[in-house]
């Protein structure tokens, strides 16, 4: 199947280009100062969703400010290793579907840890406590 693998490769290179363009945009422009799209959940309800602060955290992370990034969105920063390593596995499986296997990404504890920490993080960052205000963006 040379054609399918070639079209897969072109989709992948387009995706990587788009990702690099976004990274460059986040590196150059601080979302705190430019009107990047606002979170609709926060706009409608006033609550912080698990994604609030990700754009600013990414900007801080791209500038090496790990502590500032963690204060903006701890969940996003904590997920970076998983997303990078898991993303590599997904890229590999995208290029060669037969190479997909039961890797560490298929550990039940990993999936439920992500579920639990996302829900806990979302609940805690909306509480009026010192911890809550640190977890809030």
């Amino acid at each position: 199947m040379p054609f399918t693998s070639r079209s897969r490769a072109s989709v992948l290179s387009l995706g990587i280009l788009a990702g690099l363009a976004l990274a460059l945009l986040y590196f150059r422009l601080d979302p705190a100062h430019y009107p990047f799209p606002r979170c609709p959940v926060n706009w409608l309800t006033g609550w912080y969703c698990p994604g609030c602060g990700t754009q600013r955290a990414l900007h801080a992370l791209l500038h090496g400010q790990l502590v500032r990034a963690a204060g903006l969105n701890l969940l996003a920063v904590a997920c970076v290793p998983l997303l990078l390593l898991g993303g590599l596995l997904e890229v590999q499986a995208f290029l060669r579907p037969q190479s997909r296997h039961v890797s560490w990404l298929y550990q039940p504890w990993l999936g439920w840890t992500v579920v639990g920490s996302t829900l806990l993080f979302t609940a805690l960052r909306n509480t009026p406590t010192p911890l809550g205000s640190w977890l809030a963006p």
């Binding site: 799209p37 698990p50 996003a76 999936g111 992500v114 579920v115």
Partner: protein
């Protein structure tokens, strides 16, 4: 000839690759698209993993399809929101400029 599909390493009846679990994609949608759909995707992704560990291939396939569905819904709704937001900014920015020019 007896065949059992309860091995944790061999989840599909044909011994082929396991279904995609969508964990990476659903986390990305959760932290970037700001919508609750991503969390539904993560829960289904965790269900894929648990089903595979149990050796339940049909359950894993079902959870995989649900995880993919919610991750894609979150992605496209989020993308639509961003496009609407940009259009909104352009329209209002244009109106503000016309106002400034007419004064």
């Amino acid at each position: 000839m007896e065949q059992t599909y309860n091995s944790t390493m061999n989840t599909s009846p044909a011994g082929g690759p396991p279904p995609k679990n969508w964990l990476v994609e659903s986390i990305l949608v959760t932290i970037f698209c700001c919508l609750p759909f991503g969390i539904v995707g993560i829960i289904n992704a965790a269900n894929v993993n648990s089903s595979i560990a149990r050796g339940d291939y049909a359950g894993a396939l079902d959870a995989s399809q649900k995880a993919g569905k919610w991750t894609k819904i979150g992605f496209f709704v989020g993308l639509g929101g961003i496009v609407l937001y940009i259009l909104f900014m352009f329209v209002f920015g244009g109106l503000a400029m016309m106002n400034a020019a007419s004064q």
